[in-house]
């Protein structure tokens, strides 16, 4: 059954439970991996996504959450996402590892907030990759598809197999890539070497110039000039392998990225 809980209720619950000194491996937020204040998901969709989030959290020891609100919970989407993450007690372990996807239906803003060690894994490149595969569904108001893709890509990133990082290649694909690379380069080298040797079998070649017949010392430059015409500058943005981090109101360091849909 779909859990009916709002962010405000979550804050209260988290506040109360933290004051009761109950020790839990997971934060309060772990109980509510997905909050749908806007009621955009059906019961079946909600259950499916929730189960998926729980599965990923248990397998990778990293909290994954999504919060869909009607009205903004702070001045900016970034602040709202950070506050929900911190005060809603999301995050696994002493570093509060995890990622939360904040969606505001009223302002049509979104924000991914990351915390802990996984902030290095969900760097700017990874977040751009997630955006490229998720936000297009938000624009179409297909929240189920957006969250499903969000879960899939989080898992892809956590297994280290995501395509954006060109150096990380997983499993059997790696072997194929190495073989393909080695065979192609070796073929090229072998062809070139054989061609050079075969060309030595035919020494009857015409001369294309008369440099052997230039009179020594006869070359004389009477005029020369190198005239500057114009310049052209191109620039290319550097891929951001580092996470851009900031400190939230709770004092914790967060990474993240957001925008509007």
């Amino acid at each position: 059954m779909k859990k009916i809980i709002s962010v405000s209720m979550l804050f209260i619950l988290a506040f109360c439970l933290n004051f009761s000194f109950s020790v839990s491996a997971n934060g309060v937020g772990a109980q509510f991996p997905i909050i749908d204040e806007g009621n955009v998901l059906s019961d079946e969709e909600f259950s499916e996504i929730e189960a998926r989030f729980v599965e990923i959290r248990e397998q990778y020891v990293c909290d994954i959450a999504a919060v869909i609100v009607n009205e903004p919970y702070a001045d900016t989407a970034q602040q709202a996402a950070d506050n929900i993450y911190d005060y809603g007690d999301y995050g696994v372990g002493e570093n509060y590892d995890g990622i939360l996807f904040y969606i505001c239906l009223d302002t049509r803003e979104y924000h991914f907030t990351t915390c802990g060690d996984v902030a290095q894994i969900f760097n700017d490149n990874a977040l751009i990759y997630i955006e490229d595969n998720v936000i297009k569904f938000l624009k179409e108001d297909d929240f189920y598809k957006a969250l499903k893709n969000y879960a899939d890509i989080i898992e892809e990133v956590l297994t280290g197999s995501y395509a954006y990082n060109s150096v990380a290649v997983a499993g059997g694909n790696r072997i194929l890539l190495i073989i393909g690379f080695a065979v192609l380069i070796s073929l090229i080298i072998a062809f070139i070497a054989t061609f050079i040797q075969v060309s030595k079998m035919k020494t009857a070649l015409e001369q294309d110039n008369a440099s052997d017949y230039m009179k020594k010392g006869s070359f004389n430059l009477t005029g020369q000039g190198d005239i500057f015409l114009y310049s052209h500058i191109d620039r290319r943005e550097k891929p951001k392998n580092k996470s851009s981090t900031h400190i939230s109101s709770s004092g914790r360091s967060h990474g993240g990225r957001g925008g509007s849909f």
């Binding site: 072998a190 054989t194 075969v198 009857a204 070649l205 008369a210 017949y213 190198d226 005239i227 620039r235």
Partner: protein, 360 residues
């Protein structure tokens, strides 16, 4: 009133207009600005490049005197039509071009007297020795070549050449680039500077040989170069003893195009070598002028040999002065394929190890 000069944009060829705002010539098509002085220099340089002109003196013919031809006989080949001359006591009767063994001795008819001759320095035995030394270095030569090949015909021939001297002046303009790179925390920057470059000057050439015989393969004759002209001597029939001498059947006028081609290539290469520190250097216009052209007629020594191997004839030529051997050797496919697999195998091993580190 002077004609108003119109400048064209070097980027897009549109007309340039003077901009009073910055005192430069502005292209409204691509938006670039150019210094007036630079455009004037560029235009002056381009205007100085004219069309290529080739100016050769006519060949001054020298005829044989009666005394010169005493003891020389003419020979014709009924198979390929070659007309050659040789010592009238010459025992060999094999045509050096087609191998026909029945060349016919005929009346020696007047031919042009060569301006000089380079005598043979390598006799037949020495030439064969050079040939054997050289073919051993051919990488894919069949192992049986040494045992099963047979020199079917071998003739020492003085091949007629036209020798060209000239002075050459050229004007060349280029477009070139310089590239610099840098970066800051957010971006990589690439700056490309575009240049217009001109060079003018001259150089001289002497003794460019172009073979004057239709029968002698031009590619083989060029491949035999260079000859050392320090050994050149005035023509004397004594040098023909034991050898044949071909008569020219390609005129100097017909040969001059080949000389022009080679001189132009060398001239442009020499100028290109003076443009350093740039990338993407592209010639825009070239003008080559020749002067002081001289033509001479010479006989140069060549050993022609045909080698029979597995029922196929392979042609070779040996420079009769330097011993340089040129030709086309048979290729053993087995050896070639074995080499290919060997290189492929070693490369595969090395690149696989590199791949292990590259694709983590």
């Amino acid at each position: 009133m002077d004609n108003i000069q119109n400048f064209k944009c070097p980027c897009c060829d549109a007309g340039l207009e003077f901009s009073p705002l910055n005192g430069k010539l502005h292209c409204s098509s691509c938006g670039n600005d150019f210094e007036v002085v630079a455009m004037q220099q560029m235009t002056d340089a381009e205007n100085s490049v004219g069309e290529s002109k080739f100016d050769w003196e006519n060949y001054v013919k020298r005829e044989f005197n009666t005394e010169d031809v005493n003891g020389i006989s003419g020979y014709t080949c009924p198979s390929c039509g070659a007309e050659i001359m040789g010592d009238e006591t010459l025992g060999a009767t094999i045509c050096p071009y087609c191998g026909n063994a029945n060349i016919i001795k005929s009346q020696f008819e007047g031919s042009l007297k060569p301006d000089f001759i380079i005598p043979f320095k390598f006799n037949k035995e020495m030439a064969i020795e050079e040939f054997e030394k050289t073919y051993k270095k051919a990488p894919f030569l069949p192992d049986e070549f040494k045992d099963k090949s047979k020199i079917a015909e071998m003739s020492g021939v003085y091949v007629p050449f036209w020798m060209f001297d000239c002075d050459c002046n050229a004007n060349v303009t280029y477009r070139a680039q310089r590239i610099s790179n840098w970066s800051d925390s957010n971006y990589y920057y690439t700056k490309t500077d575009f240049y217009h470059i001109y060079r003018s000057g001259g150089l001289s050439f002497a003794n460019i040989p172009v073979d004057g015989s239709l029968k002698a393969d031009n590619t083989y004759m060029e491949a035999l170069e260079p000859f050392d002209y320090n050994d050149a001597s005035n023509f004397n029939t004594a040098y023909l003893s034991g050898y044949l001498a071909d008569k020219y059947d390609v005129s100097a006028e017909e040969s001059v195009d080949r000389a022009n081609e080679r001189v132009k290539t060398s001239t442009l290469n020499a100028f290109r070598d003076t443009v350093g520190g740039y990338i993407n250097v592209v010639p825009i216009s070239t003008g080559v002028n020749f002067s002081g052209g001289k033509i001479r007629y010479a006989l140069l020594p060549v050993w022609m040999l045909n080698v029979k191997y597995l029922d196929k004839i392979y042609k070779f030529a040996i420079n009769g002065q330097t011993g340089k051997v040129v030709g086309e050797y048979p290729v053993c496919k087995k050896k070639r394929n074995k080499f290919f697999m060997k290189v492929f195998g070693i490369s595969l091993l090395i690149t696989a190890v590199i791949g292990l580190f590259l694709f983590k």
